[in-house]
Symmetry: C2
């Protein structure tokens, strides 16, 4: 596997975990689950699968310094700075172009920096299996077998099983689907052939660059110019010069939905979560007998069930709950959030409201 | 009405309003409703009915200094210090003895310091009516016409209407009843002849001292010794000397339940609350269209109904609620309480727990 690389995508914010995640304290840099930050876990999760020299991190300038502190094992030249966010298609393209110049046989695993995976052994096993499929010129997605009809995730429908000697069942992809409404989510769960789109991909740099050349000529033109200066002192300035003209595009919409050889490994048992909002963070924390989770702080509970009490590290406040069910209570010092767990997605509406009313101190 | 006095009983704590009320910050000294503290409102509510010179305050040493600051219009000699809490019977007896020595024709209105009454005109009217009944040698209680089957109040059952020229319908008392269970409370509400025991009484000092002489000889023996030194420099030391031997007794149990001439004025429309717990405080605050009440602070509400967000004066925290119904959220800086409104009585269990576990900083 000496030609296998990981590309960690780490530019985003995560407004749905507000008031914990803030502009200058994005989700992936926070220790949301255990001692490590989500970014650190994404790096250490690769231990035993890849050496840190083969991990690339694509991020924005504001976050790079903190990331270097959090993951000093990754060589400095492996941090690639995106001058401005232009969507996951350009991130993937940039990483693919750089890797391909350095190693024409490269296979890259694209990994979000802010997801959680409990089962590291299975994760390594699936990456190895996916790598085998990718070597057959497939663009491979890691799907997550759904456990409930979520409306917060995109879905991928699988078709026929791939013929070949693979280490895990894998299938051709029929289509990608955007976040569904309630009914559609329930219908897809019943069919048994839909997976959640985890945003994790494995492919040869050669395969993804070829698909981009076919579907995204503008991006490819930029990537060609960048390729010419990879590992020269001009790289950074060339990226800066070309980046702002790029169209904002996701890898799903820009490439995957119309790509030709797309495969999926529908995985269960990973203990995966995108930690996208308070309800999904709640799911991966380990509750007590009453279904409650308490982090960082004192909690006194009377008649309290299925409730997350999330204190910022360092808050010393005593939180008392009486007669509280299915709630999320977040104490972020300057902000207190009390939210029904099944309405956690609405936190982003609050952030939008604050932005609109220019309440910058809370953003 | 020159022989009419008010006696404000102000020694208690109020653990059910924790974490707002604390050992050194008892309920009556807090501005729970509007700008005035409950104690200040109890004093100013008497304006136009009594001059401040005819208001006595019975309290404990730890609270007296703060009360003098909050109500400077009351003469210093009208503050009577109870060396230690010995129940409302001794408080009433002590005030009655002192008043009776100063004015043998005195009628005293006994008023808790920590209740709320919205309708001051009606309150004055009822006190005047009750004073007329008390002049006929009745021990008069102000009842509150129940509006729901509360299990948090004691009840008083009324009997026959009193014959006489009174300014408000008044009745003989059949019996006093302790806080009931749910079923009993509902049954009493249906009968239409039960009132909540407000803890407000009006009587001649002569009448109450006579009943005490009949039912509480030990207390009377102490009161006789105190009477001998009223308005001498020895008063304070004599009270101190005798007080600790007194039995702890309430006026209800010690006197009223077996007293001979007891009358009740069952009052509605006072806008009365004992502000005994968070749910009853909530009742007297004025809600917005969604039934929410917010004090002192910023609040952003999505899908939030019938919820009280109570911030300590001076807390600048932003409180965000999403999908929250019928809750009480209290932000007291070092403690955060989230409580279903109908379980507000359980706050006292939390205080007991903290006391048992010696978590003094939160008490």
């Amino acid at each position: 596997m000496e030609h296998t690389y990981a590309v960690i995508m780490a530019g985003g914010g995560g407004t749905r975990l507000w008031p914990l995640s803030r502009r200058n304290r994005p989700k992936q840099l926070l220790p949301l689950i255990g001692e490590e930050t989500l970014f650190q876990s994404t790096v250490t999760r690769l231990e035993g699968f890849l050496p840190p020299e083969r991990i690339l991190v694509v991020t924005v300038a504001e976050q790079a310094a903190e990331m270097r502190v959090q993951a000093p094992q990754i060589p400095a030249e492996n941090y690639i700075i995106e001058p401005a966010p232009r969507g996951t298609a350009s991130v993937v393209g940039l990483a693919a172009a750089i890797l391909h110049k350095r190693d024409e046989q490269a296979v890259m695993a694209v990994l979000p920096s802010d997801h959680f995976i409990r089962n590291r052994d299975l994760f390594h096993y699936l990456l190895t299996a996916a790598e085998g499929v990718a070597r057959q010129d497939y663009l491979v997605t890691l799907g997550i077998t759904p456990t409930f009809p979520s409306t917060a995730y995109g879905y991928i429908q699988q078709g026929a099983a791939l013929i070949g000697d693979y280490k895990y069942p894998c299938y051709a992809v029929v289509r990608f689907k955007e976040k569904p409404d309630d009914r559609t989510a329930q219908a897809m769960l019943r069919t048994g052939d839909h997976s959640w789109n985890s945003g994790m991909f494995i492919w040869k740099t050669e395969s993804i660059l070829a698909e981009m050349r076919r579907q995204m000529p503008d991006l490819t033109a930029v990537l060609d110019q960048i390729t010419a200066v990879v590992d020269t002192p001009r790289l950074e300035s060339v990226i800066k010069e070309l980046w702002f003209d790029l169209k904002n595009e996701t890898i799903d919409y820009g490439v995957m939905e119309k790509a030709e050889r797309v495969a999926i490994l529908p995985a269960g048992g990973l203990g995966w979560s995108d930690v996208g909002a308070w309800d999904s963070l709640f799911e991966v924390l380990l509750p007590d007998m009453s279904g409650n989770v308490v982090t960082n702080g004192h909690h006194l509970a009377l008649e309290t069930h299925n409730t997350l009490v999330y204190g910022l590290p360092g808050t010393e406040r005593l939180v008392v709950t009486i007669g509280v069910d299915d709630m999320v209570v977040v104490d972020a010092n300057d902000v207190l959030l009390v939210c029904k767990a099944d309405q956690a997605q609405k936190v982003k509406n609050v952030v939008e409201h604050l932005r609109k009313h220019r309440q910058e101190i809370y953003l």
